[in-house]
């Protein structure tokens, strides 16, 4: 075990943390919008919208993320129409391709979480709110949303951890996030274990922090479940 090399690799790997966090945060946020749209479409009762949303979820959950990343980064540039379009300045950047792929991927998983959470809201609560004369929007804001968010939080925490791990695939399209930098150092020094340990600890710390954050949010949102003092 080469301790000095391990110690020397820390600054380079730490410098890659912001990119990893950026990829994860942007993908999760944009994916949430995508997921809300897909969940809404599936629960809308509109056959075409529900069918399109189901197809989206089926395709993105049924294929590996690596295929999705390669399809977007290498695949789309094959078409002249894409290269001529106004999206090209974005689609030619590996950064935005990675975000697009991660967003579409997590959107599919998140939409299932949201759908399940909304379906878990007891029908009686919705009926009671309606009997009180609440409008659809007020009912959603005051009754459905708070109950559904509490229900969805633990699954959402898992999804964050999955995304942190998934962001490592951005290294396959030249992005130098933690795994990309780790790979580069390994190919320069052949110190596989040392670098693996440092990079692994960074990922474990990020995931630990994310898990604590979700646990805290859960605790904040469920005061009624806490033991009375």
């Amino acid at each position: 075990m080469d301790w000095e090399l391990m110690w020397d690799s820390v600054p380079a790997l730490l410098a890659a943390v912001p990119l990893t966090l950026q990829l994860v945060a942007l993908a999760l946020l944009l994916g949430l919008g995508m997921a809300a749209l897909a969940a809404w479409a599936r629960l809308s009762g509109h056959a075409v919208a529900a069918g399109a949303a189901s197809a989206y979820v089926f395709v993105f959950r049924g294929t590996p993320l690596l295929v999705q990343i390669f399809l977007i980064y290498y695949g789309l540039s094959q078409f002249e129409a894409v290269r001529a379009s106004l999206f090209w300045p974005l689609l030619r950047e590996p950064y935005w391709c990675a975000i697009l792929a991660l967003m579409l991927n997590t959107g599919a998983y998140q939409s299932e979480i949201i759908r399940g959470a909304i379906l878990s809201v007891p029908q009686g609560q919705v009926e009671a709110a309606r009997a009180c004369g609440m409008s659809r929007l007020l009912l959603f804001r005051r009754i459905v949303l708070p109950v559904a968010v509490r229900q969805a939080l633990p699954a959402y925490g898992n999804e964050i951890i999955l995304m942190v791990k998934a962001s490592s695939l951005a290294s396959t399209i030249t992005l130098l996030e933690i795994t990309g930098v780790a790979r580069r150092i390994i190919s320069q020094t052949y110190a596989v274990f040392e670098i693996f340990i440092v990079a692994g600890i960074l990922y474990l710390l990020i995931n630990f922090a994310a898990a604590r954050l979700i646990r805290w949010a859960e605790w904040r949102m469920t005061p009624h479940l806490r033991a009375r003092v």
Partner: protein
């Protein structure tokens, strides 16, 4: 574009299908290896031996908290070094080249095993204690209880979770294309490189994966129904 995927010398259809066969072979071997790791891990976690519990806990925490790609790089770049270090203990000092298939199976199997551990542990804990007590009252020994009571009941509870682990494992095999093993993703990359039609090849790869996941979901559903045939519906 479609003629690119034709069978025979002119097209890449047969190469892609061979890739699919390789993916299935790697995924199946890794899943089975993962079941072995999972059973060992779950037994360790449920044992009263603190060291075993600690080792199993560390295994699942690290492997589930670190990106799959990193685990694959560790075994791919460090695998032959590990095997050679082990071999030198037994007095063998020649260079050993580790086969890409074996590295892939071990890497994905390790990942699969960490998830299987949690599934099997949960399933074993879901077996009602009364069943074990009843078996003991009948005079069954430890192994007979394991074989007749604990094993079958655990399997029944574990099947849905193991179905999820299989899907994860199948999709994780795409990552071992970085080791140049000729599975679906690797074949697609080779085809994309030599024809300059990446979209066609990666789309074909996506369709193959979708087929594999859909067929295996149906198979697991049938297995679940079969395992649950003795259970009364509520």
């Amino acid at each position: 574009m479609i003629e690119l995927l034709a069978f025979g010398d002119g097209g890449w259809g047969d190469e892609m299908l061979q890739g699919a066969a390789m993916t299935v072979a790697v995924a199946t071997s890794a899943f089975l290896l993962g079941l072995v790791f999972g059973t060992l891990g779950a037994s360790a976690k449920l044992s009263r031996n603190l060291i075993l519990v600690g080792v199993a806990e560390a295994y699942t925490t690290v492997v589930r908290g670190v990106p799959e790609l990193l685990v694959i790089y560790l075994l791919f770049f460090g695998g032959s070094g590990m095997v050679m270090a082990l071999a030198s203990v037994f007095g063998y000092d020649e260079y050993i080249e580790v086969n890409a298939f074996v590295v892939g199976v071990v890497a994905v199997g390790l990942i699969s095993g960490a998830y299987s551990t949690e599934v099997i542990r949960g399933a074993a804990q879901a077996v009602p204690y009364g069943q074990i007590e009843a078996a003991r009252a009948c005079g069954m020994g430890r192994w007979l209880i394991l074989r007749r009571i604990l094993g079958p009941l655990t399997l029944r509870h574990a099947l849905p979770g193991l179905g999820n682990v299989w899907q994860l494992t199948l999709k994780d095999t795409a990552l071992i294309s970085v080791t140049a093993l000729a599975e679906i993703m690797r074949q697609a990359a080779v085809g994309a490189g030599s024809t300059k039609q990446p979209f066609v090849f990666y789309a074909a790869a996506a369709v193959l994966y979708l087929l594999l996941t859909t067929v295996s979901t149906a198979l697991f559903d049938r297995a679940e129904k079969n395992a649950m045939r003795g259970v009364r519906r509520a």
